[in-house]
Every structure is written in structure tokens, then in C-alpha cells.
């Protein structure tokens, strides 16, 4: 089976969390590594890229523009691979159906990293030595950190789609790799928007934190910095390990510390297990006044890869409480009619969007559009083209890079998403209604996160006035509490 045929994993998330594999040292023995080695052998060859290969015109790369894709299509990160497959299949179909780029077809070459960082390095080396590959989409696959020095030497255009270099201080101009750009919303921004909401909107002062120390080892420092900046007191700092079977000791300490909110940083399955453990000790979230009361009922704020998708709620059942929050970005509102990716997936793949599909598609278009703008596949010219091409509009929102900003996201792009259930909104005073998408997009019985409009509305309007006007006009997202004059207030106790 070729890697192009791989279609693995289903649920939605978007973090470079599979770094755990390197930490636990499975790489050399894992069967998943065997899968990773099962790709197209002609592309597995590792050879240094020569200067001659770096400078190429349109004519040398044939009739098709090829983009390399490095992602986990197997192993615990396989659900990322599923999103990447859907996104790129739809995007490639759309580009080619509308005439391609400069009359040339676009194709992607997918390589699986599994849980082995060496597989990512090897895949990159194969792409770098393949003259027909114009750039690389790094979609959560391992090996990006290890490849940075070679990327710098090659000057290969790379889009970090689901890898967070920015939060670690490893994105240009902080480091020298000028050919690398990031689309992923950084963790640091997610922490900032969540801690600010907890402190200034909900009025919490004491917050607990529990994170997967194997998967997201840097989360503690980032959370601590954000909490301090927001003026929050930390009430309990706990760790767990990927796939832990019991959270009792940690939950017991968090309960005794009595934080009004609880930040949970991990992936969906563990988040669900943890929420069941919180519920087991009677700590389920009710609303803000209860969270601030004497008993422990913390308002849960989770990581985008944990509570940012529906799987955790499906698994946790009744322990997944309405009002659980996480950070997201405006471009991720894939249900909006004006965002193209939803229509493409329906048209070409007969599939519904689940979220996250906008990012690989946008990364792909950035690279092929850069070829067009640069007038060829010269890597240096492509990098300059990406820096200077201005707003790029493809799968969802317009975005841009510049010579001094290789991150497409800004704080004004961030939104909050809150868990809702199609069984109806929580009973609050005043009451609120679920947004339009619950009638027109989501299937019956759906449980999942939805845009919480009010808290970030002003910032989002600054960045994307047209999109936010569409959100308000069509009634998308949770808009409690909506006043008679159309403004939104925070009287709704659960949000």
C-alpha cells in the first residue's frame, strides 16, 4: 500500500503531540516504524541537496507541481493524518478542477512519520533531493526540529501546518531558518486568551493546571507564564502520562487546592478520562457562581487538541459539561458558508468537515501560489514571494506572512469555543439559544465545541470584520447573552 493510499484515524485534533513517541523511545522497535518505512522506495533515498538542485525554473519540474507532505498517518497521531488527507484531497481536487497553477496540475506526495522522528527526517531528505518537489507541508509529523539545520542549508520552503515552532522560539526571525513559515495557532497564544478570559471575564482568581508531561512537556512553563501575566494564582499543578488509567491522586490534590477553574492540557482520550475522574469526586462544572463557591466545581479550560473537538465529549459522556472551553481561531469556523473548505469536502469527497481541514489546504495553496508569484521553483524566490504576497485567501480566512512575521496567526485571530449539546443549551438565567449551525450543519445528537462569540468579538472584528459580520448576521456560534440592541453581554452564568 502506498502512503498516498493511507487513510487512517478519524478524530479531530491538531497538535504536534506525537513527540511523546520520541520521549518513550519506541522509535527503534515500533511496528509503526515498520509502516513508516513501507513507502515509495524511490523517495526514501537520503542524499544531500546540491546547490544546482536549489535553483530551478518552471521547465525543470515537469507538468505537475509536487508538494511533499510529512504527517503521522499511523500511530497515536493518525487522526491528524486523517484531517490532512481530507483537506489536501479536497484542495488538490479544487485547484486542478479550476485550471491548476499557471496551467499546471498540483499533486501531493505523502510520507508517514508514524511515531518515529527519524522517519520525518528521512522523508524530508527525500523531498529535498527530489527536483519535482517545490516545498514541504509539515503536518504534525515528527522530525521537524531535527531537520531544521538541513532546511536552512536547503532553503526549502516549509509550512509548519500542525507543528508549533513559534511557542518554542524556533520560528524566524527568532532563528535563522527563513524558509519556514507557521500556520498553526501557537500554544502560547492559546494560553494567553484562556487565562485572560478566566481572570477578566469570569473573574476567577485561583486556577489549577494538569497536563500530559510526556506529550506536552513544555505546557507547564507556558501556562505558568500566562497565568502570572493574567494575575491568576495557581491552585495545584499536576501531571499525568499519556493513556493513564487512573487520575485519582491528582484529582484529589486539585480538589483540596479548590481552584475555581481547571486548565487541562492533553489529548482527547486522556481529557475524557480525567473529566470522568473529576465527575467521580463530584467536581463537575455547573456555572461560574458555583465554581466560585465553597465546593470544588471548576470551570474547565482545555487544550485545543483535547477539548477543542468532539471526541472527548463523546467519550466522557455526562462528565463533559456544557461550558467547557478552549481556544481556537477564526479560520477554524469551518461551518461558515463563506469558508470554501466545507463545500470542497462535500463536493469532491462527500464528507463533512470536522475542523482543522482549513490549515493543510491553506498551506498547500501558499506553496503553489508562491511558485506562481516567483515565476518558478527557485526556493529563494519562493520564500520571498511568500513573505510579500500579501493576503492569501483559499480554504477559509485570508492570512498573510511578511519578511519579519512568519506566523500567520495574530492574537486577534483567536476565538473561544465552548462545549454545547444538541439536546439543548444549559439552563441559565438569562437563557440562550444554540447557534444556526446546530440546525443547518451539525447532525442530530451532535455534541461538540462551538464558537463562543462575545469574549473575543471586538478583537476578531478588528482582524476580520466581514467574517464576524457574517457570524452575527447569520446567528452562528453561542451568542449569550444577546441584548435587544444586538450587543452581547456576559450575564449568562455558564459562559
Amino acid at each position: 500500500m502506498s502512503m498516498e493510499d493511507m487513510d487512517t484515524g478519524k478524530e479531530f485534533s491538531r497538535r504536534d503531540f506525537v513527540k511523546w513517541a520520541g520521549a518513550v523511545g519506541f522509535g527503534s522497535m515500533s511496528v509503526l516504524a515498520l509502516t513508516a518505512c513501507g513507502g515509495d522506495k524511490k523517495n526514501d533515498a537520503s542524499s544531500p541537496t546540491t546547490g544546482a538542485e536549489k535553483s530551478r525554473g518552471f521547465t525543470s519540474s515537469g507538468d505537475t507541481l509536487k508538494v511533499g507532505v510529512i504527517a503521522p498517518f499511523s500511530g497515536v497521531g493518525a487522526f491528524i493524518g486523517r484531517i490532512v488527507n481530507n483537506s489536501l484531497d479536497a484542495a488538490v481536487a479544487q485547484i486542478n478542477a479550476t485550471g491548476g497553477i499557471g496551467g499546471r496540475k498540483v499533486a501531493v506526495i505523502k510520507r508517514d512519520t508514524g511515531t518515529d522522528p527519524a522517519a520525518g527526517v528521512k522523508a524530508y531528505q527525500a523531498f529535498a533531493s527530489d527536483k519535482s518537489v517545490v516545498g514541504v507541508l509539515w503536518c504534525g509529523g515528527l522530525g521537524l526540529d531535527e531537520s531544521r539545520a538541513q532546511i536552512k542549508r536547503d532553503n526549502m520552503p516549509v509550512i509548519a501546518v500542525f507543528n508549533d515552532l513559534y511557542s518554542a522560539g524556533n520560528l524566524f526571525p527568532a532563528v535563522q531558518e527563513r524558509s519556514v513559515f507557521q500556520i498553526l495557532m501557537p500554544d502560547t497564544m492559546a494560553f494567553d486568551v484562556l487565562t485572560n478570559y478566566a481572570k477578566h471575564d469570569r473573574g476567577y482568581s485561583k486556577v489549577g493546571f494538569i497536563y500530559d508531561s510526556l506529550l506536552l512537556s513544555t505546557a507547564k512553563d507556558r501556562f505558568t507564564a500566562a497565568a502570572n501575566k493574567a494575575g491568576l494564582t495557581i491552585a495545584g499543578l499536576e501531571t499525568y502520562q499519556l493513556n493513564d488509567a487512573d487520575f485519582g491522586p491528582q484529582v484529589n490534590r486539585l480538589k483540596n487546592a479548590k481552584g475555581e477553574a481547571l486548565f487541562v492540557w492533553g489529548i482527547a482520550g486522556d481529557t475524557a478520562g480525567l473529566m470522568k475522574a473529576v465527575d467521580k469526586v463530584g467536581g463537575g462544572y455547573v456555572d461560574t457562581p458555583t465554581a466560585k463557591g465553597g465546593e470544588w466545581h471548576p470551570h474547565v479550560l482545555g487544550s485545543p487538541g483535547g477539548t477543542g473537538e468532539h471526541t472527548w465529549a463523546d467519550l466522557a459522556g455526562g462528565a463533559a459539561k456544557i461550558g467547557t472551553l478552549t481556544a481556537w481561531h477564526v479560520g477554524g469556523l469551518v461551518a461558515l458558508p463563506s469558508f470554501s473548505i466545507r463545500g470542497w469536502m462535500t463536493k469532491y469527497l462527500k464528507k463533512n468537515v470536522t475542523g482543522g481541514e482549513e490549515s493543510p489546504a491553506d498551506g498547500l495553496f501558499t506553496l503553489v501560489h508562491a511558485v506562481e508569484k516567483a515565476g518558478g521553483t527557485d526556493r529563494q524566490k519562493m520564500v520571498t514571494a511568500i513573505e510579500t504576497m500579501g493576503d492569501i485567501k483559499f480554504a477559509s480566512l485570508p492570512f498573510s506572512f511578511s519578511a519579519t512575521r512568519h506566523l500567520s496567526k495574530t492574537m486577534d485571530d483567536l476565538i473561544l469555543v465552548t462545549l454545547e449539546k444538541s439536546s439543548g443549551p444549559a439552563k441559565t438565567t438569562p437563557a440562550y439559544e444554540l447557534g444556526t449551525e446546530w440546525k443547518s450543519v451539525f447532525p442530530a445528537g451532535y455534541v461538540g465545541p462551538t464558537h463562543l462569540v462575545r469574549p473575543t468579538l471586538e478583537a476578531n472584528k478588528r482582524a476580520h470584520p466581514d467574517v464576524m459580520a457574517e457570524v452575527l448576521r447569520l446567528g452562528y456560534g453561542t451568542q449569550c447573552t444577546k441584548h435587544a440592541d444586538g450587543t452581547l453581554g456576559n450575564e449568562c452564568k455558564i459562559h
Binding site: L34, F79, T239, G273, T311
Partner: protein
């Protein structure tokens, strides 16, 4: 007091989770001297098959035996695909079984992925209440029927396994094959059938374990790899081939994890380090594991 109860609850439940998986490793090793690296996948197969039956409308108590049967069938298939084609081999010197059992594991996972799906799932707990008891709090630590069921299952399976191996003809035949395959053949025992039977039982155990573990760990692909490796370590610490050893090894890991987590909020981070120190110490002091029997080389 609260800390002590917490350690006991953590150690017993997590230890039993690992023991349930480790029992499968041990059973196959006992008869074939092969470590079945597809055992973790049995957990995934069993869990997803149980989920598929429940999704199709079969009640949980019906889905459990059906999934167990399918698990047994998959175990047999693994034996036929991964072990039999190697013919007569010495597992100590010919290590082709490592690759074949890994490969069988991959095939099992892909078949589940293509037929049932790869999305994590949940299935109901086998027991939400026992005679009206829905859970208690001991020194502030909650205990629910599903936890008790996991612990009881591990202990009951250990006792039944021990009894069958020691006091039934079939069990004696399994042990005979384990001790001396050639001599067992001369006594009229078909070693291949015994090995196949052990794979079948291990597959069934995987399905049973998956259903029991679902309230805590759900039904997901990660369980196969992550629990599979932890359970393998538990089996080696307890003594590969020993039923009691599997449970003891699980409890050792469970209690180590519980103590570390109760001692410190960062305790879990040190668990792999401590566990592998324990692992090495056990292997240095008792190379066959805590309860493993030394292999006697026949002249």
C-alpha cells in the same frame, strides 16, 4: 489514611488493568516460548468488536461473549498466520516470530480500522451497580463497581488459570508442551493444537480485558501499543509463563505508579525511570522474574 487508601485503590485497579493484558502474554509464552507482540492488538480488536456488536443493537451482556469468541478466533488466526508458517523452530535462536507477530498486529489493527473504524469509542460499564451499590467513598477516595469488577476479574482469572493448568488434563497438556515439546508429543499431545489453544484463550482474554477496561481507558487504538508494552513489562517482572506472576507484576507496576503519584504531583514523570530500575533489579536478582520458573535444559 487518605494517601494510603489512594495508593491501594490506584495500585489495585491499575495493577489489575495491566494484569488482564499480561495474562495473555503469559499464556502464549507458557506454551510456545514466544512473546506474542500481537497481544496488545487483541485488546483493540476485542474492544472494537464489542463496540460494533453494541452499535448493532446487541446488549452488552450479549456483546461480551460474542466479542470473546471473535477474539479467540483472531487469536487462532494470529497463530496460523504468524507462528505456524515458521514450522518447528527454537524461539531462543530463531527470532522470526518477532517480525511475524508484529506484522500480525498491524494486520489486525488495519482490519479493525477498515471495517469498524479508528475513532475512539466508549462502551457501557459491565456493572454500574452491584445489588444497588453504586459506589462508596473510603477516606475521601471514591470506589465504584467498575473498579471492583476489574480487580475481581484479574484475581478470578488468575485463580481459574492456575487451577486449569494444574488440575485439568488440558492444563497439564499445556504445561507439558511448555516444558518439553518433544516429550509431550511422545505422550500423545499435539503441541500445535496446544499452542493454538493458548492463542485462542489469549485472544479471548484480550476481548474480555477490553470490555472491562473500557470505562477507564475507553476503546481506542492507543491502548494496544501503550498498555501492551506496560503489560509486557509486568509479565516479565512477574515471570513470563507464570499466571500468578502476571498479576503480581501488574500489581508491582500499579503500586509503584500509585506511590509515586501520591508522593508528588510530578510523580508520574518518574514512573518509567523507577519501573525500569525495578525491572532491571528483578532481572538481575531473578532472571526468570519474581514467580517465573527456571527453564531446565534437557541433556
Amino acid at each position: 489514611m487518605s494517601d494510603f487508601v489512594q495508593i491501594v485503590v490506584y495500585g489495585m485497579t491499575v495493577g489489575s488493568v495491566l494484569a488482564l493484558v499480561a495474562l495473555g502474554y503469559n499464556l502464549v509464552f507458557a506454551t510456545s516460548r514466544v512473546v506474542n507482540f500481537a497481544q496488545g492488538s487483541m485488546l483493540v480488536v476485542g474492544g472494537f468488536v464489542a463496540f460494533a456488536f453494541i452499535r448493532a443493537g446487541v446488549p452488552l451482556w450479549g456483546a461480551l461473549p460474542l466479542a470473546t469468541l471473535v477474539g479467540a478466533g483472531v487469536g487462532v488466526a494470529v497463530d496460523m498466520a504468524a507462528i505456524r508458517p515458521l514450522r518447528d523452530f527454537d524461539p531462543g535462536t530463531s527470532v522470526g516470530w518477532i517480525l511475524t507477530t508484529f506484522s500480525a498486529s498491524l494486520v489486525c489493527l488495519d482490519v479493525v480500522k477498515l471495517t469498524i473504524g479508528a475513532e475512539p469509542r466508549t462502551i457501557p460499564a459491565l456493572a454500574e451497580s452491584v445489588f444497588g451499590w453504586r459506589g462508596s467513598t473510603i477516606a475521601g477516595i471514591p470506589v465504584v463497581p467498575a473498579d471492583v469488577l476489574i480487580v475481581l476479574s484479574a484475581l478470578v482469572l488468575m485463580v481459574v488459570g492456575e487451577y486449569v493448568q494444574r488440575h485439568t488434563m488440558a492444563g497439564r497438556a499445556l504445561r507439558a508442551v511448555s516444558q518439553d515439546r518433544a516429550a509431550a508429543s511422545l505422550m500423545g499431545i499435539n503441541p500445535r493444537q496446544m499452542v493454538m489453544a493458548s492463542f485462542a484463550i489469549a485472544g479471548a482474554l484480550g476481548a474480555l480485558g477490553a470490555v472491562l477496561l473500557a470505562p477507564r481507558l475507553f476503546v481506542k487504538f492507543d491502548n494496544g501499543l501503550l498498555l501492551g508494552i506496560q503489560a509486557f513489562v509486568a509479565a516479565v517482572i512477574g515471570g513470563l509463563g507464570s499466571t500468578r506472576g502476571a498479576v503480581l507484576g501488574g500489581f508491582v507496576l500499579g503500586f509503584v505508579g500509585g506511590i509515586l503519584r501520591v508522593m508528588s504531583s510530578a510523580g508520574g514523570q518518574y514512573e518509567p525511570l523507577v519501573i525500569f530500575v525495578v525491572f532491571l533489579l528483578v532481572l538481575v536478582v531473578r532472571p526468570t522474574g519474581l514467580l517465573g520458573a527456571p527453564v531446565v535444559e534437557k541433556a
